[in-house]
Symmetry: C2
């Protein structure tokens, strides 16, 4: 009797499967496809020369440590540099025992979810929200309950009503992206942030602040993270090197209550023992050398121009048949198209070799079928404009 | 009402906590401690110069891809190099869709476990076995059932009896290290391997072959992996770059039935999206440049000498009060000490600034309390000898 994979597997792999993500990945291997569906940075903004020098220095000066196993909680030199970086740029303060380094912030969210969710537990989210986080919550049979974001501001009163509707022991977490939300690109005002914190404290609910894009702001200073306003360790701050340095380093982290971080570290340890040591040393040197700060204006300049190209072409091609808020940060335009079912129209778009993420995939309830998430950071400006024109042909 | 970590957490973080591992890590930061407890390679055998050149080349020629996100299943260039490496060195054949790249083989085992275990399911292991794997199984409430290894050979008849004692739907997996077993250092004979495969096929049980040390053999050729004898995709082969190249690259993989690998890939994707891209490119270049093959004799030479130093000092210091099989491969001597309770004596050893792993931690049942796992790859030969002499003082 041979092993039968279908009999062997539980329903976990099916539950976490993300057909949209898989489809996108399948189509993007075709070279003529214009991919507005993904969420990749532009390799042109990678500080590849400084990183090359740094990699060489790390492997000369520090190879014995950089090529070795490292502590599950993170390489101390890297942790100290993250703490200093967050303090000087975002006003987020942390101690070393409140910080866990992970393989991207995805792993931080995964290890936290595994540490707190029982089947049927509820996680409160923005609606729409980051769809890969939702797949992750489903791995643990956690139920996402969303609150709407009229004009880009989370409706905290609705959120509170939704919290009240759930029995207390099932309430586990609030998951939000207060700065440069994915997909909407909106940031919470300080007032919304204060209100959210107040509600979180009222119900004893920890808040995950997922903040990959917070520093990539196109209209001025970075907004103050929720974590910088958090007096009581109610906020679990997650972020990453992926958008400000390079995703290929696969580095993220969480900051929170030290007892909680310690528990999540135990889980992280059984997942993969420790985060990539070489990357941590490379990133530590990069942070010490101010590589991110020195490159940030370059990133903003390139992305501002690309965002403008997309926004202008959307207006030119679609006129008043499209409706969106010009994003002040992040990597996406989240746009609505009058009378279009973006899920059904995807086939037409694929025929014209342009891809986007159908908006309904991003809602945890009450999906809108006329929305699309459009990435402007990866394709060239010409491709962005051509992609939007192809969308016009596919949609109308 | 503030968030209360103790109320928030499930029992998962406690269940996976590994006090031995944590203790070891806590003690090893003291610089005067001789650490025979860990399982680290010697940094002196890292091919740091070739890796430095390679990192520089990768970040010159291929930075746009190497610093970017990459497919959840692995970077195709790296996958092709692994396949060619395993084929030419170990006779293991695989296709690209049968191979999943992971953050160390630990993550492969974790994602597989998450894909197949329901609470109460049984995983059949060698006894003693790799203790971090056991912590991992416990995360999913899987129950390890061990079969003994008299004279280093898994007793497959006992294993079969243990399988029969478990109700069929609870039997999920056989987990073994057929080559350079951790902790015993023993390798299965071809006869034992054939018998094991036969039993696995009789009961429809997949076999994880965990093979980190298979190529590090001190007495001749590498043993043929179980996977090389596997005609029916019954074996899931897991291995890593950690022992033959460098743990800091944090790269491992699994090879198995493609339907199974695909399901496990979905789970891997929600854990951390993809494995470190930069490391995958560095390792791909290293494999292409035969860096591992060129360095393997150096590794074997250094470790053979260290093993001999440990074995000789054990005999000199303990005489017939110690009993062990001289390991032909791997990184450990697993030794028994007449009349000693190694768990109780650990305190005495710590006083003398020497650490080892108490053997009882490595048994899934019927622990022996007179055993210790002693690592000979990391400490210098002088430290090994001094460490064993300190053990002598602590034990008798």
């Amino acid at each position: 009797m041979l092993m039968n994979p279908q009999e062997l597997l539980t329903d976990v792999p099916k539950r976490v499967e993300n057909p949209d993500l898989n489809n996108i990945l399948a189509y993007t291997v075709k070279p003529d496809v214009i991919n507005l569906a993904g969420g990749l940075p532009d390799p042109a903004v990678f500080p590849s020369e400084p990183l090359r020098d740094i990699a060489e220095r790390v492997l000369k000066e520090n190879y014995a440590a950089a090529l070795q196993y490292s502590p599950a909680t993170g390489v101390p030199e890297f942790k100290r540099e993250i703490i200093s970086f967050l303090s000087r740029n975002l006003g987020v303060e942390a101690k070393e025992d409140q910080l866990l380094v992970t393989s991207g912030s995805q792993e931080a969210l995964f290890a936290l979810a595994m540490s707190i969710f029982r089947p049927g537990d509820v996680v409160f989210t923005e609606n729409p929200t980051y769809y890969v986080a939702v797949s992750l919550f489903k791995a643990f049979e956690a139920v996402p309950v969303g609150a709407p974001m009229p004009s880009g501001q989370l409706d905290v009163n609705v959120l509170e009503r939704k919290i009240k509707e759930v029995e207390p022991k099932r309430r586990k977490l609030i998951y939000v992206m207060p700065n440069a939300q994915n997909p909407t690109g909106a940031s919470m005002t300080e007032e919304t942030k204060r209100h959210l914190l107040e509600v979180a404290e009222r119900y004893g609910l920890p808040v995950v602040e997922d903040d990959p894009y917070g520093m990539i702001n196109y209209e001025g200073k970075s907004p103050r993270p929720l974590k910088a306003m958090d007096r009581n360790n109610q906020v679990i701050y997650m972020s990453t090197m992926s958008k400000v340095l390079a995703p290929g380093l696969r580095l993220g982290w969480m900051i929170g209550d030290k007892e909680l971080v310690n528990a999540v570290s135990n889980v992280k340890q059984v997942i993969d023992l420790n985060t990539n040591t070489l990357s941590q040393y490379v990133a530590a040197y990069a942070l010490r050398g101010r590589v991110i700060e020195n490159n940030l204006n370059n990133i903003k300049r390139v992305y501002t121009s690309k965002r403008n190209a997309m926004v202008d072409e959307l207006r030119d091609s679609f006129g008043d048949r499209t409706d969106f808020v010009k994003p002040e940060s992040g990597m996406f335009v989240f746009s609505f198209f009058k009378g279009v079912n973006t899920r059904e129209s995807l086939k037409e778009a694929v025929k014209r070799s342009v891809l986007y993420l159908p908006g309904d995939a991003l809602y945890v309830s009450d999906p809108r079928y006329d929305a699309a998430r459009l990435n402007f950071t990866y394709p060239s400006e010409d491709k962005i404009k051509e992609g939007i024109r192809r969308l016009r042909q596919a949609f109308y």
